[in-house]
């Protein structure tokens, strides 16, 4: 009995000793959190980065709202968001924050209807469905836009995000742009007061729930629908053309003038072949990196990572159906990265 206890104690002590920081060589680590929209891309990106550079980037996909909140709480090295921080949010952060765009993506309307019929949607249909005014899949208004489509007499269950989400922000930004009623009743933001429907956590959660519930409709980043072989709707853009979300139609939507801080919304694009619910996604971090006792080394690691994403990392985007950044965005982002400082001195030369 006593012996057994001693063995247990010794084991525990040994384990504890092994866990003490400094007992082993410290691997380089960066901690990030935020958007789930680009997570499949980031997941691949950071895995590759670890293999090539030996820096472990731990990115937890908790939602864009979480990314910004945790950056402000100074619990992470960088945040990820698909909803660029508004001036008010920037002011609340206490110190200047930089936005580095990483790629472009599309918010697609995915659905679970028996037979997976191809469906086209107009902005007003999307608004009516998510406001709960169209309740059945075989509603006349849907059939008018989709003549000949095999749509069942089935209840529509809308699925939205339950966490603070940049995907929701892009989606609601779009709906607020195209519908005055949406703007007034629901508005645009990362967390909304949804009039009906089911909530799920993260892009994976929404995709998972839509897959689970027959008759469901939800919005996710393109890759989640593609990887899960879920159908997604063509959406009518500003020019009146029904556009299939794809890397190409997203890139077309991004053909706008990009401001110096890259904070730009590209929803409801004027481009004729552009997909209207597209958006940039960003990584955000503090401009002055010497805060809360951070080391210069960590700041350099972070800047190196950002530089790598802007160049080598871009090649990984296409394989996962994200659109790589336009050349202009990369150029602007490089300038932003150069403005990052440690103790007032530029980190990247």
């Amino acid at each position: 009995m006593k012996k057994a206890l001693l063995t247990v104690i010794a084991l525990v002590a040994a384990l504890a000793a092994a866990m003490l920081p400094g007992a082993r060589a410290e691997a380089k680590e960066l901690l990030g959190a935020g958007a789930t929209f680009p997570f499949p891309y980031y997941s691949k990106l950071f895995d590759t980065y670890n293999q090539e550079k030996g820096v472990k980037v731990n990115y937890q996909a908790i939602g864009s709202g979480g990314g910004i909140q945790q950056l402000k709480a100074k619990t992470v090295d960088f945040g990820g968001t698909d909803d660029f921080m508004k001036d008010k949010e920037m002011a609340e952060a206490g110190a200047p924050i930089l936005h580095i765009p990483t790629c472009l993506g599309a918010v697609v309307i995915t659905y679970n209807v028996p037979g997976d019929p191809a469906i086209k949607l107009t902005p007003s249909l999307i608004v009516d469905i998510f406001l709960g005014r169209i309740e059945k899949w075989n509603d006349k208004r849907i059939l008018d836009v989709n003549p000949g489509a095999q749509l069942p007499d089935m209840n529509i269950a809308t699925v939205h995000r339950s966490d603070g989400s940049g995907t929701t922000a892009i989606f609601s930004d779009y709906l607020s742009t195209v519908s005055a009623e949406w703007k007034e009743r629901v508005g645009a933001g990362k967390s909304l007061n949804w009039p009906n429907g089911l909530g799920a956590k993260g892009n994976p959660g929404v995709a998972g729930l839509v897959k689970q519930v027959p008759g469901a409709i939800g919005y996710v980043e393109l890759i989640y629908a593609v990887q899960n072989k879920m159908p997604y709707a063509d959406v009518k853009n500003k020019s009146g053309v029904f556009i299939k979300p794809s890397m190409k139609s997203v890139t077309a939507a991004a053909g706008v003038a990009i401001p110096d801080d890259t904070r730009v919304s590209i929803v409801n694009t004027a481009a004729k072949d552009g997909y209207p619910i597209s958006g940039f996604t960003w990584l955000v971090f503090y401009k002055e990196q010497n805060y809360a006792g951070r080391s210069k080394e960590k700041a350099t690691d972070l800047a190196n990572l950002m530089g790598w994403i802007l160049h080598e990392g871009q090649q990984l985007a296409e394989g996962l159906d994200y659109a790589p950044l336009p050349a202009e965005a990369v150029k602007k982002a490089e300038a932003i990265l150069k403005s990052a400082t440690y103790d007032g001195a530029s980190i990247v030369q």
Binding site: P21, K56, Q60, P204
Partner: protein, 284 residues
């Protein structure tokens, strides 16, 4: 005469029916249990192999990979939480057993009951406010603090109850021989109650091993192997939650596998606690 006879028969029938109902309803409870175990084993067993237990997760949407990071993280969280909770819990338990009355003692007793009832998610908020915010990072430590708070009431209570059962004769004999009070408690009373204390500790560990809610914003998760207490770690329940709610069938399968590992571990703990309690129970 006839009516009363049939009356008796009716009463007997009612009696039998009632017994049947009680037996039926009692065993109905076993159905979901069997179903849960059946599904976990059926869906989990095929996933578990050497790679699953020793490899790190692959990037999203790619096949292969395993749960080594979550296994290590869970172990680390348990060990760390135990290091915090066991000394404090056992000492507090000794204090209560020795201090049968008194304002502080009854306060502590009440406090443990209150603590037992606080929802785990609330403890997560507190650990976030105390540890994550003040240390400036999510970490295994913050998760362990939350789990340790949940372990405390179980350990304190079992320690107190066990030590109270130690007969006063032992203490009196020891004290009469001139052994000091502290030595009497540490060398005589605590060792005689050791099995009970150990059982309590194991039950406390079993209680926290499957906890997810307080880890959501403390331990946070980590796709890499991390053995640093000041860095975020993954844990089995967190991983199960994330994988189960995702759309990827590949991840669903992993979630079932991880669930099987977790259930086996928790049940192993409970079983060991029971065996220890039975086998090594010191009879007075």
């Amino acid at each position: 005469m006839h009516t009363s006879h049939s009356n008796i028969r009716l009463r007997i029938i009612k009696d039998r029916l009632f017994l049947a109902l009680v037996v039926l309803l009692s065993f109905a409870m076993i159905v979901p249990l069997l179903l849960i175990i059946f599904h976990i084993v059926k869906n989990g067993i095929g996933v578990i192999n050497w790679e699953f237990l020793t490899a790190l997760p692959r990037p999203m949407g790619e096949t292969g990979g395993g749960i080594a990071n979550a296994l290590a993280g869970t172990m680390m969280l348990i060990v760390l939480a135990s290091l915090i909770a066991i000394p404090l819990g056992v000492l507090a338990g000794i204090y209560l057993a020795e201090q049968k009355t008194g304002r502080i003692a009854s306060g502590v007793r009440l406090c443990m009951e209150v603590l037992q009832g606080i929802p785990s998610i609330v403890i997560g908020i507190v650990a976030y406010a105390w540890v994550v915010i003040s240390m400036g990072t999510f970490s295994a430590l913050s998760g362990s603090v939350a789990l340790a708070i949940m372990m405390l009431p179980v350990i304190v209570r079992s320690t107190e109850e066990t030590l109270r059962l130690v007969p006063d004769i032992l203490r009196e004999a020891s004290l009469a021989l001139g052994v000091s009070y502290a030595r009497t408690v540490l060398k005589i009373i605590v060792p005689s109650g050791l099995t009970g204390i150990l059982t309590g500790i194991l039950l406390a560990i079993a209680r926290i091993t499957g906890e997810t809610a307080p880890l959501l914003f403390t331990a946070f998760g980590n796709p890499y192997m991390s053995l640093n207490v000041l860095k975020p770690v993954d844990s089995l329940p967190l991983m199960i939650f994330n994988y189960a709610t995702s759309p990827y069938p590949e991840w669903h399968a992993k979630a079932w596998g991880a669930a099987l590992v977790l259930v086996v571990f928790v049940m192993g703990m409970n079983f060991t606690a029971k065996v220890i309690a039975k086998r090594w129970k010191v009879q007075f």
